[in-house]
């Protein structure tokens, strides 16, 4: 088995997949803790569906670089969702659900009506479930993913205290002079970037798992924000790495294997939490 692992690791695209997978899982887990605590666990799912809808529009418009449309649209939706919060007429969870299903339906409809692809099912399936796109990255794409992940992690660490304050009590944070709106916007932009990156790894249907499972697993065992954040990052990276390795060795779909690993760890931590 080790021979096989080393054999596969010789291939650049396998190494790229592991690097990108680990970086994305690390970034998403950092933000996952904040999102879970703010009761925005489902935002990843909603935004990924928005990204799917945007991708459908970009496909219909025959844009050569679809991300030029996907990313701004996802960022705008993320900002709107996180900033409006409880003050909006359509509140948090309802707004996410509305955007999520609306974008998904609209995207699929557009692809059905206008797509010239010979394999529409394949197109949709690969976007929803990630397929093997993580194994088809070029070096430049890996570098960009790495840069973005590092930027997201850097900002999170740099603004850790403020994000912590806004996460736990936004009103109190505002009263103490912290610009909650600004930090919410930053969080929203980071989430959008991570979502768009993670579509490569697990597909748009499974992104939520990457965001919430490590955070929930860590919360089962630890209680402080700092410990939960650290544990969540470690668990997420381990699950992503193990998931990718299993999928490479056993020939299983990458995205769902990573999520299965996340679920397994969650059950394990749940049992550990009960014992405590």
């Amino acid at each position: 088995m080790l021979d096989k692992i080393f054999f596969y690791l010789q291939y650049p695209f396998v190494r790229y997949a592991i690097i990108v997978g680990v970086l994305i899982s690390l970034s998403s887990s950092l933000l996952g803790v904040t999102l879970v605590l703010k009761r925005f666990s489902y935002i990843g799912d909603g935004l990924s569906h928005v990204a799917f809808g945007a991708m459908a529009v970009a496909t219909v418009l025959k844009l050569s670089d679809k991300m030029l449309l996907i990313l701004p649209v996802t960022v705008i939706c993320a900002v709107l969702l996180l900033k409006t919060g409880q003050n909006a007429k359509v509140k948090g969870d309802a707004a996410i659900a509305m955007l999520s299903v609306g974008s998904l339906a609209f995207g699929y409809l557009l692809m059905n009506i206008f797509s010239t692809s010979s394999n529409l099912t394949g197109d949709v399936c690969s976007t929803l479930f990630g397929s093997t796109s993580i194994l088809t990255l070029t070096l430049n794409e890996v570098i960009l993913c790495a840069v973005l992940s590092v930027v997201v992690m850097g900002i999170f660490i740099f603004m850790y205290n403020k994000i912590l304050a806004v996460t736990f009590d936004e009103t109190f944070a505002k009263a103490t002079g912290v610009s909650a709106d600004f930090y919410n916007t930053i969080t929203a932009v980071m989430i959008a970037v991570i979502i768009v990156l993670a579509m490569n790894l697990v597909g748009s249907l499974l992104i939520s798992a990457l965001v919430i499972f490590p955070a929930l697993s860590a919360m089962n065992v630890f209680k402080s924000f700092f410990k939960v954040t650290i544990a969540s990052s470690i668990l997420s990276v381990i699950c992503a790495f193990v998931g990718i390795m299993i999928s490479i060795l056993a020939g299983t779909p990458v995205g769902s294997t990573i999520v299965a690993a996340d679920v397994f760890v969650f059950l394990l931590s749940f049992a550990m939490g009960k014992k405590k």
């Binding site: 010979s118 099912t121 197109d123 194994l135 088809t136 430049n140 840069v147 973005l148």
Partner: protein, 203 residues
């Protein structure tokens, strides 16, 4: 004032970085748009139609040259770049010993960076498919591999040696076959195409 400036700088930095993500998550983005390999179009943005025995509209990535004996149609095998791939695989790439996930990644590389694989002997296992193009009057043969989710597929065209007579010596649509041939690229009408020439059916 300073704080505002700092905030603006941070927001602008994030947004700038976000724009650069373009290539990063582009599932269907071509690594190099100048590479005109029809088979590559079948991956994700326009995945290949998975051939089935009763599917009349199947698309096989590469057409067969009119005269298979005429090797002049092939682009002379250029010296492959010295990359990691070449060092690992040597001149013989056996895809049958790899997991389906890795095979998909490797075939993707073969389609997108064919110059790295020209002249190498490839052994692969997949579903046999043939397609008769009424417009050109040619019949194409391909070995189709699928990804782990079975929703995306890629095909590599092969041209069997003259020892094989169609249709007697050829498999039937959808049969699992193992093919071995020399990877090459040739140009025809609307672009460049990958193929396994001098191919043999192992099973």
């Amino acid at each position: 004032m300073k704080m505002r400036l700092l905030r603006r700088t941070i927001i602008l930095s994030i947004l700038s970085c976000s724009i650069f993500v373009s290539g990063c998550a582009g599932q269907g983005d071509l690594p190099d748009e100048s590479t005109d390999i029809t088979a590559s179009d079948t991956i994700e943005t326009e995945p290949i139609a998975v051939p089935t025995p009763d599917d009349e509209d199947i698309i096989i990535p590469s057409p067969e040259p009119e005269n298979t004996d005429n090797n002049d149609a092939f682009i002379p095998a250029s010296e492959p770049e010295n990359t990691d791939d070449n060092e690992i695989d040597g001149d013989y790439i056996d895809l049958t010993i790899m997991s389906s996930t890795v095979v998909y990644g490797q075939v993707y590389n073969m389609m997108y960076y064919p110059e790295k694989f020209i002249g190498k002997t490839i052994k692969m296992k997949g579903l046999y498919s043939d397609y008769f193009d009424q417009r050109s009057g040619k019949r194409y043969f391909a070995c189709i591999i699928m990804d782990a989710t079975a929703c995306c597929s890629q095909g590599v065209e092969f041209i069997l040696t003259d020892d094989y007579k169609y249709p007697d010596d050829y498999p039937t649509q959808g049969d699992e076959v193992t093919v071995e041939g020399i990877f090459d690229v040739y140009e025809e009408e609307d672009g460049s195409y990958c193929t396994l020439r001098e191919a043999k059916l192992i099973s």
